[in-house]
């Protein structure tokens, strides 16, 4: 097992480097650039834009800038200050540290996405089990329709409707942000602000999980060992929960590993509607303003998450299912 993990980690390094290289090239090739807004301002002369371009190091060739970012080639001040040295640089827009920007937002996003994942699973697993056990009954059909609804209706519409209902009409919940401005930041305040965005986000995901749990359960319910358990005299509920569910959850657990990157990537639409200061908005603004250092920083985090997530999910699968360990 440890050999397997070590092997995978070693493989991950070149994959990661290639990802960074491809992204760097792609974002530099897109039209526009961090100085595009300055170019449109009638008060700014081209000579000034060139001057700022040089000051920011943007006049260097692309390959050189990539190597500087990586930390293999020294920057304009002669220092090695790239990824290999643990530096992610500073934003083109306000010159604040990329690492700081990300560390400020990451906990906010994780709070939102992890809460939403928990809510999704809390709803989806029982729902999926019941749907599978009571297959083709009214309950199953209603659950199917509702989950299809959840996945089809656009998040922003749902979010806006929720705000109009719960905030404007009923005044039960605040309509955005993480804390109420002008007041002490209490846990209770945070929870009130978290409730709507996390719920909206989970509605979208419940459908996916629900279907997955249902089909996984259906597969397990047809197995012979369950018939043996029933023959032994075990009550139906124990059969389902202790034997069927545990086996059915194995693929689900591995799926959770694969959804790790989306936990970090943030839910852009939900964050925008609810004014949640998270990674999704950071990445989106960086992309539209062509803030390359931040884009690369967010990318480093997400690709690490993808690589880690797939590794974890494979390890989990092997750990939970003894049949797989043979390799």
């Amino acid at each position: 097992m440890s050999r397997f993990i070590a092997q995978r980690l070693l493989q991950a390094i070149p994959v990661f480097l290639v990802i960074t290289l491809i992204t760097f090239v792609l974002i530099n090739l897109t039209p526009g650039g961090p100085l595009a807004r300055l170019e449109l301002d009638k008060d700014i002369k081209p000579a000034d834009i060139e001057r700022i371009r040089t000051n920011m190091g943007l006049d260097q060739p692309m390959w050189k800038r990539y190597l500087v970012w990586l930390g293999v080639v020294p920057n304009s001040r002669g220092e090695f200050a790239g990824l290999l040295e643990g530096e992610m640089g500073i934003s083109y827009i306000d010159q604040t540290s990329v690492a700081e920007n990300i560390l400020d937002r990451l906990p906010n996003t994780l709070l939102l996405t992890v809460s939403s994942l928990l809510i999704s699973l809390l709803i989806a697993i029982p729902l999926g089990v019941i749907s599978a056990v009571k297959r083709h009954t009214l309950l199953d059909n209603v659950a199917t329709v509702l989950s299809t609804a959840g996945v089809s209706i656009p998040a922003f519409w749902f979010g806006l409707m929720a705000i109009l209902l719960f905030s404007v009409k009923l005044r039960w919940l605040p309509s955005g942000g993480m804390y109420t401005l002008g007041q002490e930041q209490s846990r209770w305040d945070l929870l009130k602000h978290l409730l709507m965005p996390a719920s909206i986000l989970s509605i979208l995901n419940v459908a996916g999980w629900n279907r997955y749990v249902r089909s996984s359960m259906l597969e397990v319910l047809g197995q012979d060992y369950l018939r043996t358990a029933r023959a032994k005299g075990l009550g139906e509920r124990l059969v389902i929960v202790r034997h069927a569910l545990r086996n059915a959850l194995i693929p689900v657990a591995t799926l959770i590993g694969l959804s790790l990157p989306s936990l970090v990537g943030g839910a852009l639409v939900t964050e925008t509607i609810f004014g949640w200061p998270g990674m999704g908005r950071l990445a989106y603004h960086a992309a539209t303003k062509r803030d390359y250092p931040i884009i690369m920083g967010v990318l480093v985090i997400s690709s690490l998450m993808v690589l880690l997530g797939s590794l974890l999910s494979d390890v989990a699968y092997m750990a939970l299912d003894p049949r797989i360990r043979a390799d």
Binding site: L40, I52, D104, R105, L160, V168
Partner: protein, 577 residues
């Protein structure tokens, strides 16, 4: 039984699919053009009869001014940089204006220059030396006294090529750093290289930054200083507390402000990226001031507890004919350009696309400006018959019956070329996308084929500023308070400014340059009237309409009066019930 269940199921799923495809409602056509409206709450009137006099005295009781309180301003994007000489976006502007002051400011009533940090100023005979007399009672937020050194430092920083100030180009060939001379602690003298009509109103208006904090920094340190994002220190009515990125900026009152301590206690700048949510927050009281999108304007005005104002702006929507024959020969004849403009019902566009919150342009100078010629006749009002006449005259006729005119003896155009072109604008901007569709329809009615194309913003910028590969494009722009329009019409502005279509008229160039070389208002007015007349004839880039901004704020906030010139002149007097 199963079939019935299944049928209901299918219907429900289909209904949900229809819901899922819901598109936003198309704008309704508003019949009345909304004039500048200020909706204010009724003030309670009391009738008092004073004994012994024949008159009836009417006493109006206004809500009592109270001290303290918090108000929250909301914007659609976060600020970028709180250093007044480094920022370049609108969102940073509001907070900066609450924290900093300039030498002068503009009077919102008529855009005239009034004192701020400078209590008076003298202009020399040759108009090239300006001496400012500064206030001696101003302190920075950290308690240090404000002096002429701060002013010198501010302008020298702007002029420093290693500091990333986007404002530096304003001073090219105008001011040298050694010509900023401190005469004493409260007197400073600027000697310009030439006369500049926009010096007093606009070029000296930059907010002043503290020399005692930033003076020792190298340019690189200046560009990345903590001052810019987490520790700004100014002289203004409010001082900085914190900035949580993408969420809010918090400011508190500066009790030592030189014009008097602010009435309110705290100010928040909040980021709400969605217009519907912003309006919802205005209704719940989670924000106090916000721009309201035109689609929600009617509802906003009808809402209790909210004051609303639609005020004219310097920004406008226009389209440009590419006049570079190497890119397209179609628009060389002025009659073609005039005819195409006559074929557009711009009033209808203002009514339906801008919800009536725009004024059709009768000149390139808006009525908001002192250089606007009040005798400007209506500029090419909608007249498709006249348009067709002019097109015929210019040689565009449809002889092959396909509904599109071709050239028969048109200036610079090969015979047989159809009057068909691409009409581009930036994707994602609803106003502009709707405009190109409307224009296509208007032009189709006079036998002209326009092909609407929505292009991604950065790609469009490339087209407009680098490659010039377009035929007709619709974009927006905005003037400064000073009526100079060199950026769009001058020959030199092609490639270096905002002259998108290579328009060149040497006579107009001379007029524009002359107007910049004097500060005499009457002379300039005369020259700008001439400029308007020439542009009205040549219409190289016709302006469709000037926008009105629509803003609403909670009635409990008093004294706030948004406008496009200067709304912060009384920021310290805004009070909250």
């Amino acid at each position: 039984m199963r079939n019935k269940c299944q049928a209901i199921l299918v219907l429900t799923v289909v209904a949900l699919m229809v819901l899922a495809g819901c598109a936003p409602k198309d704008p309704q056509v508003i019949e009345k053009v909304v004039k500048e409206t200020v909706v204010q709450k009724e003030i309670v009137k009391e009738t008092v009869i004073v004994e012994g006099t024949p008159e009836v005295k009417v006493v109006t009781a206004t809500p009592e001014e109270t001290d303290g309180g918090t108000f929250i301003y909301c914007d659609f994007s976060d600020a970028e940089n709180l250093n007044p000489i480094l920022y370049n976006d609108n969102a940073s502007q509001f907070s900066i204006n609450m924290m900093f002051n300039g030498l002068i400011q503009l009077d919102p009533k008529d855009a005239s220059v009034i004192p701020d940090l400078a209590k008076s100023w003298d202009v020399s005979e040759d108009e090239m030396t300006i001496t400012y007399h500064l206030r001696d009672d101003v302190r920075w937020h950290d308690g240090e006294p404000f002096t002429a050194d701060d002013v010198r430092f501010t302008f020298q920083s702007i002029l420093n090529p290693d500091i990333n100030s986007p404002r530096r180009a304003d001073f090219e060939g105008l001011l040298q750093p050694e010509n900023i001379v401190v005469l004493d602690d409260y007197t400073i003298e600027f000697t310009l290289d030439r006369v500049d009509a926009s010096w007093l109103c606009c070029k000296d208006a930059y907010h002043i930054i503290p020399e005692h904090i930033l003076g020792e920094l190298s340019p690189e340190e200046f560009n990345t200083a903590a001052f810019n994002t987490s520790e700004p220190i100014g002289t203004g009515p409010y001082k900085f507390v914190e900035w949580v990125k993408d969420d809010h900026i918090k400011l508190v009152a500066n009790p030592d402000y030189f014009e008097g301590a602010p009435k309110a206690d705290e100010f928040y700048f909040k980021v709400v990226e969605n217009q519907t949510v912003a309006f919802a927050q205005l209704q719940t009281g989670e924000v106090d001031i916000t721009e309201v999108t035109a689609a929600l304007w009617e509802e906003a005005q009808a809402t209790e507890g909210i004051d609303c104002k639609a005020y004219p702006e310097f920004s406008f929507l226009f389209y440009a004919y590419n006049l570079d024959t190497e890119k397209t020969p179609l628009f060389q004849d002025v009659r073609t350009r005039q005819a195409l403009l006559l074929a557009l019902d711009r009033q209808a566009m203002a009514d339906s696309i801008a919800f009536g919150l725009a004024d059709v342009a009768q000149s390139t100078v808006p009525p908001l400006s002192w250089a606007h010629n009040p005798d400007n006749g209506p500029l090419y009002p909608y007249d498709p018959d006249k348009a067709m006449e002019l097109l015929d005259e210019a040689g565009w006729r449809d002889e092959d019956g396909d509904g599109i005119r071709e050239a028969h003896g048109v200036m610079a155009v090969e015979d047989g070329t159809p009057l068909s072109f691409e009409l581009a604008t930036n994707a994602g901007n609803q106003e502009r996308e709707q405009s190109i569709v409307a224009m296509q329809q208007f032009w189709a009615q006079v036998g002209v084929e326009a092909i609407p194309t929505a292009v991604e913003w950065n790609a469009l910028l490339d087209m407009l500023m680098k490659t010039y590969e377009y035929q007709v494009v619709v974009v927006g722009f905005g003037w400064d308070v000073d009526p100079d329009q060199k950026a769009m019409w001058h020959t030199d502005s092609y490639g270096a400014g905002f002259n998108l279509n290579k328009y060149s008229n040497p006579d107009l160039d001379k007029i524009i340059d002359a107007a910049l070389e004097t500060t005499d208002v009457e002379t300039r007015k005369d020259l700008y009237y001439q400029m308007q007349a020439i542009l009205a004839e040549e219409v190289p880039s016709p302006i469709i309409y000037f926008r009105r901004a629509t803003e609403c704020w909670n009635s409990r906030l008093h004294g706030y009066d948004p406008n496009d010139i200067n709304r912060w002149d009384n920021a310290h007097m805004w009070w909250v019930e």
